[in-house]
Every structure is written in structure tokens, then in C-alpha cells.
Symmetry: C2
Subunit: 114 residues, 2 copies
């Protein structure tokens, strides 16, 4: 029969103090990984760009953020419920997250079949 399946909550267990962005893996199934990311006013370090081997589906669950893609003048503003898909090796960085509250992201990293 297996164990009883009980839900966890994405808003639960937010650390009171967050010196760095917090990345927690919820599911790791080989080529698919689901993460909860909690930012508290954090941004990517100056000059840093994410350059990932996998595609990333990213949703902003709570808070607010600005994401900059390489080659763009203006960052993309993200609010609660906003999602986008970042192709592998599409360089991007987090310019800003709201300092007023914790920003919670849901990130899904996945491979695309050739």
C-alpha cells in the first residue's frame, strides 16, 4: 500500500534571517529537479550570469523580482503568479527582489529531448 501521502507547504518553514538566497530541492528525479528558492532582497552578484545546461521553468509564487536576460536593455518584472521558461544557456541574472517580504520561487529544471 505504501506510506500515506501528506502534503508539504511551499510557504512553510521560511527562515527568519536569510543571509543568502535559500535553494531547497523538493524533487530530484534524474533529469527533472524541482526547487523552492527563497530570496529576501537578494540579487545576483555584480557581473554574475546564470548559464545553465538545463532548461528552467520558473514561477514567482510570492513577492516580486526583476530578471535580466543577456542582450536585453530592460529587466523583466515578475509578480505573484508570473512564470516564464528560460532555455538552457540563455544567460540571465536576478537584478532585484523586493526587500519588503520574502520572495518565493518555484523552479523546475529539465532536459529537452534532442
Amino acid at each position: 500500500m505504501g506510506a500515506v501521502i501528506l502534503p508539504s507547504n511551499l510557504f512553510a518553514d521560511l527562515p527568519k534571517h536569510l543571509p543568502e538566497e535559500l535553494v531547497q530541492t523538493l524533487i530530484n528525479a534524474g533529469s527533472v529537479r524541482i526547487e523552492r528558492i527563497v530570496s529576501d532582497g537578494h540579487a545576483s552578484p555584480d557581473g554574475f550570469w546564470y548559464d545553465q545546461d538545463q532548461h528552467e521553468w520558473l514561477m514567482l509564487i510570492k513577492g516580486g523580482a526583476r530578471l535580466l536576460f543577456e542582450g536585453e536593455e530592460q529587466p523583466v518584472r515578475m509578480s505573484t503568479g508570473d512564470w516564464l521558461n528560460i532555455p538552457a544557456h540563455k544567460k540571465h541574472r536576478v537584478e532585484w527582489t523586493t526587500p519588503d517580504e520574502a520572495t518565493i520561487w518555484l523552479a523546475l529544471h529539465y532536459d529537452m529531448p534532442k
Copy 2:
């Protein structure tokens, strides 16, 4: 450089009238599929059980629901932010979704490497 990446919103474009549950595929990447599911008081038909070949990571984004797993006496109550992982072929059904507002789910269907 590619097209500008702009977000979509998971709360947007909710139909005013929903005679049946609405399932929309957001990303289909071979072995990974992300869906938005909108329920408006819908439940699974009497005697119906989901029996899926893929694993499903399921999060309740908005609203409320009760999910029943085969062999369990009591359904699992799900509220905003709750998520759980349903192994492939773990039979389950939606017993209830709140009639007061639309219930929005995020569902990720994926394979687990052997």
C-alpha cells in the same frame, strides 16, 4: 539573440463559466509536462480513479481541495501552497474542490529513471 522572454501569469485568463475542469499544458518537453488545471467545484466522477503512467508533482496554487488515495479512509485536505508527489500508478481521485472560488493547480508529470 532569440525572442524577448516575457512572463505569463497563472492566475490570468480564468474562464467565467467552467462546465468541466480545464487542463492547459504550459510546457511539454517530452518526458516532462507542466499543466495548469482549473477546477470550479468539480470532483472526479463517481468511481473514477486516476491511474497514471507518470509520476505527478501537484501543487495547489489557489482554492481548496480534497484528494483521496486508494486504500485510505480519509481524503487529504489541500490548501494554498500545499504540494505532494503522487507516484505513478498510485490511484487517486479528487473528492471535492471548493465551490466558492476557482481552484488552480500546478501539475508536473515526469518519468523517473529506472
